[in-house]
């Protein structure tokens, strides 16, 4: 038998982690409890974070929206602040799992699990999100791109906890785009996905573009060369098609049960071409 603790505050969490050094914190359990059932993880005890008040909220903090690590996808999707300020993140969160998975799973869990297929990671990258990490006596902020360093690997230090994610509000002129390709619509890991934030002038000229691909590399893939090439241009099919080979070269997908690496490369380029949906009418 394994102890399961239900702390209500961060102070209680720190005490528990001190007293039970082998304990694993979890929130929704949609990743960790599966890993335990499969014998891949065997923590000495579990600290369930779902009732820790400081981790469950959503707040406006100046020009950022702060999302508590243990806020469920459903909680975030139901927040008027998140709906209004972070529609791109909402679009990605609606593709996670299924309704009960979204009632249980949390943004913090998705970030800390650091799966190459984590649905929220590409939008958090292009939005310039920072993670807030803490232990009893320390707090620090880290850009998401520096936090997730490989499949399942992060810079979370022993005894440290993800408190939340601070997401800058994109400018009003920014247009978000998200597309996920999976084997089916629900209950499916991404085969490839693209999240984009585009700052467009009224005449459709791209002022700046931030693009991030998911599921086609050990972590999220950015292609600065393509972002630079879009600046000052319209999102025309021809231009986008001419840049697709650069995307195919930049991604580093693997073969797995869901798709081959070769297929993922092609899809990655095609996801870029789909940005023409935001461009001038053909």
């Amino acid at each position: 038998m394994r102890e399961v603790f239900l702390p209500r505050s961060l102070d209680e969490v720190w005490d528990l982690l001190d007293r039970h050094p082998g304990a694993a914190p979890y929130a929704g359990g949609t990743d960790l409890l599966v890993a335990i059932a499969e014998g891949k993880r065997s923590p000495a005890a579990l600290v369930c974070l779902e009732r820790v008040g400081e981790l469950g909220g959503v707040e406006e903090r100046g020009d950022r929206v702060w999302l508590g690590a243990a806020a469920t996808y459903s909680r975030l999707l139901g927040s008027p602040l998140v709906q209004q300020e972070l529609p791109l993140l909402c679009r990605a969160m609606r593709t996670v799992g299924s309704p009960p998975v979204r009632h249980m799973g949390t943004l913090g869990g998705n970030v800390v699990t650091a799966s190459p297929a984590g649905d929220t990671l590409p939008p958090l990258h292009v939005l310039g999100a920072e993670v807030e990490l803490a232990s009893r006596f320390s707090r620090r902020l880290l850009p998401i791109a520096d936090f997730v360093v490989g499949p399942g690997a992060t810079r979370l230090a022993p005894g440290e906890l993800l408190l939340g994610v601070a997401v800058p509000k994109p400018p009003a002129s920014a247009v978000g785009h998200h597309e996920k390709v999976g084997r089916r619509k629900a209950l499916a890991c991404a085969v490839a996905s693209l999240a984009a934030i585009l700052d467009l002038a009224e005449d459709g000229i791209v002022r700046s573009a931030r693009l991030a691909w998911g599921s086609v590399g050990p972590t999220v893939v950015r292609v600065p060369e393509v972002e630079a090439a879009l600046a000052g241009r319209r999102l025309e099919r021809g231009l986008l098609a001419s840049l697709a080979p650069a995307v195919e070269r930049a991604v580093a997908p693997i073969d797995d049960v869901r798709a081959s690496a070769a297929y993922r490369r092609v899809v990655s380029g095609l996801l870029l071409e789909r940005l023409s949906l935001l461009g001038p009418a053909a």
Binding site: M1, R2, V4, L46, S98, H103, L187
Partner: protein
């Protein structure tokens, strides 16, 4: 641990290992065998229950997480099978082998609590976490549409 909860509208208290999976607690300790287990990994919806009215997967919850919560299993939808969803599932032939049915009913109850008048696309989305390997989805969607019509008092036909 001493677990206290409200189970199908009645207070309950029992001694359980805190890391007992909720699906095992319900089926084996409490004899509520309406809740089914299929994949055990959150991919099929067979073990869906309501916790404080919201759908959850009982294979991915531990007993300790139920402390102070209100749990509804399929047995708690109604004392005699007269919940609108149970009646429309029967009337529309939405049950084949029946293994997915408890999870479907509770996922549908969760959906109708959030959206009392869903269109067919919203029903499909609401049930997207529940697999029916008999593939009887059309009649299941029909049944949920009819139950929402029954609940909100509009003609079923409007939903087609």
């Amino acid at each position: 641990m001493r677990l206290e909860l409200v189970l199908n509208d009645a207070p309950a208290a029992l001694d359980v290992p805190p890391d007992r999976r909720v699906v095992d607690l319900l089926r084996e300790e409490l004899g509520l065998k309406g809740t089914k287990e299929s994949c055990g990994a959150g991919d099929c919806g067979a073990c869906t229950i309501l916790v404080d009215g919201e759908s959850r997967l009982s294979c991915l919850m531990l007993a300790a997480q139920l402390q102070g919560r209100a749990v509804t299993t399929v047995e708690g939808l109604s004392p005699d099978g007269s919940h609108p969803l149970q009646e429309t599932f029967a009337a529309h032939g939405a049950v084949q082998c029946g293994y997915c049915t408890p999870g479907m009913l509770l996922a549908a109850a969760d959906l109708l609590a959030r959206d009392p008048d869903p269109d067919r696309e919203a029903i499909r989305e609401g049930l997207s976490g529940n697999l029916c390997r008999c593939t009887g989805y059309v009649k299941i969607v029909d049944a949920v549409a009819a139950a929402s019509a029954a609940t909100v008092g509009v003609p079923d036909q409007r939903k087609r």
